[in-house]
């Protein structure tokens, strides 16, 4: 609690604390998008022919598509020809160890609170840091390799494990899936690849940190996680960006494959720059995340804390194909000022005895709009499918909006599907109770919101939970009058 208070005080002075720019020389592609840019990126990455073909195919398909407009968000259209699709921090040669990373760059990550050195020694979290779409350094590689776990940047994976990439890339989110996934497939510049072999339980949490640094760039990273039979991994993702007046685009794709008895837990704390108080600038976060429980008894769990971005458009989904498989989605989405979030999940029940659970908490303040959009689909053969969904919204202020769009489609009589949603504000009696016991109103609100989000926060790994709690308080700072 006292920590929360401190955070609130600190942030009363600073607005978005990750808003600095690091002066790193970057290797960039000119703005604009055409086949040459796609070739340029592929060449930069020294990619094999098949990869380039894959990208070009995606690009050609993208040209035929049009930007989706069904989401409950409004924003000026993105000019896809004004974006730089490639920006890599300049490096002289391939690095052999972490110590060779540009000191300036390492300072960046220290500011972010993920000192690579520290991480390496103390916290037992393997980090893959991605800056402006290019993977900078991956820690703990050696220790992981001993277990047979592959955790590296996507470009490295293309070079060194082409058979795995060929097999799994695009298997969950096909390049033609939607507008942004097609764009990502064409121009993705890096990302993380993680492969957990049969029967291995990853001894540490794997983590990626994304940061957009350069101006006018878009970030298009791609994450692929493959969990073989009986394996387990917990994966963390975090992100920040500098404060800039113009909007920047982030269109990532995350794919997860869980085979028989495997379990993948994916946690995100999304804190892209949300724009200033007037709604100027900020990141467009248009992300496609999907996992497939391909094997029996497999499990995929998404946990997300969404506090950043000007516009969010994101639906982490699970295809429950294997019998007895499980999908989970826990989300806290906070919007303040002029932020807009349209987020939720899809649970597609295909196998027998599949179960899914959705817990979504939306908090809107200021002039923001917060939407939950979800789909629960039970197919004809999904005998004994079970779903429970809960969507709660909390409104702080009378200028914001909360929306719920749950789609439920059931084609099997043995299915049990429940959905419930509530919208409310913080009760005056609750505040009064806290005031009475000596907590001022702002602290009381922070306390109540933490309680509101607790069910989701409890799903986060320890280090992340602390950060997420702070973020919650920061995002809502000043919204309580």
């Amino acid at each position: 609690m006292s920590e929360m208070l401190n955070t609130l005080e600190q942030t009363a002075l600073s607005e978005y604390k990750y808003g600095w720019v690091t002066d790193i020389e970057a290797d960039e592609a000119p703005p604009g998008l055409n086949e040459d840019i796609v070739r340029f990126i592929s060449a930069k990455k020294n990619e094999p022919e098949w990869m380039l073909e894959w990208r070009l195919k995606a690009y050609r398909h993208w040209l035929k598509m049009s930007e989706p407009e069904w989401a409950n968000v409004k924003y000026p259209k993105v000019d896809y020809n004004a974006i730089k699709y490639y920006s890599a921090p300049k490096q002289k040669k391939t690095l052999n160890s972490l110590d060779e990373v540009d000191p300036e760059l390492r300072a960046t990550f220290e500011k972010l609170g993920i000192s690579l050195d520290e991480q390496k020694r103390l916290s037992n979290v393997a980090v893959d840091a991605v800056i402006d779409s290019v993977s900078i350094a991956t820690t703990f590689k050696k220790e992981l390799a001993e277990l047979g776990i592959i955790f590296c940047s996507m470009s490295e994976a293309v070079q060194e494990h082409p058979e795995l990439i060929k097999k799994w890339l695009g298997s969950v989110v096909p390049m033609t899936d939607n507008y942004f996934s097609a764009l990502n497939s064409a121009v993705f510049s890096d990302g993380s690849f993680c492969y957990i072999p049969k029967g291995v339980k990853s001894p540490m949490e794997l983590s990626t940190y994304f940061r957009i640094n350069a101006e006018n760039t878009g970030q298009f990273e791609r994450t692929l996680i493959v969990a073989e039979e009986g394996s387990f991994v917990s994966y963390l993702e975090g992100c920040t960006a500098p404060m800039r007046d113009e909007n920047q685009l982030h269109a990532a794709v995350v794919e997860i494959v869980a085979l028989d008895n495997a379990e993948v837990k994916y946690s995100t704390v999304q804190n892209w720059y949300p724009g200033d108080k007037e709604g100027k600038g900020g990141i467009y976060n248009f992300v496609t995340k999907r996992g497939i429980c391909a094997g029996v008894n497999s499990k995929i769990s998404w946990t997300q804390v969404e506090t950043g971005s000007a516009v969010t458009w994101k639906y982490p989904s699970v295809i429950l194909k294997g019998d007895n498989s499980q999908g989970e989605f826990y989300s806290v989405a906070v919007t303040n000022n002029h932020q807009q979030a349209d987020t939720g999940t899809k649970m597609m029940h295909i196998g027998k005895n599949t179960r899914s659970r959705i817990v979504s908490k939306g908090i809107s303040a200021g002039f923001s709009q917060n939407s939950y959009r979800g789909l629960v689909q039970v197919g004809k053969n999904a005998v004994n499918a079970r779903n429970f969904s809960q969507c709660d919204s909390l409104l702080l202020g009378d200028k914001c909006g909360a929306h719920t769009f749950p789609y439920i489609e059931v084609k099997n009589s043995t299915a049990q599907v429940e959905h419930e949603a509530t919208t409310s504000k913080i009760g005056e009696d609750q505040i009064f109770y806290c005031n009475q016991r000596g907590l001022d109103t702002e602290t009381a609100v922070a306390l109540i919101i933490n309680g509101f989000a607790k069910e989701v926060m409890n799903q986060l790994p320890m280090e992340f939970a602390v950060e997420a709690q702070k973020l919650l308080a920061i995002s809502l700072e000043g919204s309580v009058g």
């Binding site: 929306h403 719920t404 749950p406 084609k411 099997n412 009589s413 049990q416 429940e418 959905h419 504000k425």
Partner: protein, 435 residues
Amino acid sequence: MSELKELIQNKLSKESFSGNGSLKALSQKGLELFNEQGIPTVKHEEWKYTRISAALNKNFSYAEGATAITAKEVEEFRLPGYEAANELVFVNGIYHAELSNIRSSADELVILPLSEAVKGEYKSIVDSNLGHSAGYHKDGINALNNAFAYQGLFISVKKNKSVEHPLYCYYINDARTVNVLSQPRTLIHVAANAEVKVVEEEVTIGTSDSFINKISEIVVEDNAQVHLYKIQNEDSHSSCVKTTHVRQIGVSKVNSVTITLNGGVIRNNLNFILEAPGCESNMYGLYCVKGSTHVDNHTIVDNKMPNSLSNELYKGIIDENATAVFNGKIFVRKDAQKTNAYQSNKNILLSDTATVNTKPQLEIFADDVKCSHGCTIGRLDDEALFYLQSRGIGDKAAKALLLHAFAIEILEKIELEPIRQYVDQIISERLDFEI
């Protein structure tokens, strides 16, 4: 379709039609919009789960006016309790005065063609309310009915009158020789301190295809009370789109119960626009369907002013190849503080070929509100079944008992005893349940 457009155009250009002001404008605009939009496809978000074009593409005849339907034929589908009711008969979408039977006196109840009402003392009411639903349904189906608004009916319940005889409205399609598409249209005005009960039923005579595209707009003033009951029990070759648009412009109470038992493709749009502070709206629905019936209930509650209460409960029992769709929207506008809005949708699937698509939707722009929605899809509770079986009740009887209990919660909301008993009997027979 061109034949249809010509028909409307001819009617509108007739000299006798000039001076119909808002009515003519609505018809004309409806025609234009229909030309532009056509029949909505499943790509239209509001029609995502209901393929209405298949039910409409059947070479319908748009023959205007009454056919040779006799009072004797009307006799056959009269609802119980008709002896004490005002019976309004619509044939192929047009009000038929000779077959109707108005028991209430003219100082309680006024029934006029819309084309007359738009000129006389009710002009301002018609002008400000007719076509209000078009703001909520902007698709071609709605526009098509608007184009036919000139043949609509105006009903007014006078101030301070509690109409003793409920209004029984029969919408008859005479499909004995040709496929019939009809476009009934009503505007019901309930003045301050008045009370009225309205029961609606669709009837198809004959075995050809029938389609009713109906809009009924209801305006409710201060301290008025309205009860709306719909009974839908037709054959599989009869489809309909029924839009009921209720504007509560004064502090008032409106209850609606929609019972769907059988039919082809059935789409019900039910809108409640709460424009005065402190309104109460209750919407109940029961769909007990089998065969290949497709029932789609779309509801909207638009809270515009503070302190209102809305309560919504829709229940469904879906068997065989039937499909049920539910979409409930609750809007709470910025000024509608202290709104309480509840919504619940419960479904029981009895077969693996039955489908339920449900989408409860909340859109809230005010912070001091209590809104909740819930929906469930499942089967009968195993424990409850076991309990009954352990007390010597057979499997079949136990299931019937539980399903009947599930349905009764809605039936109890019908405050018109003969109608309630009538529906209960149909459902009990359907479920093999003995009362």
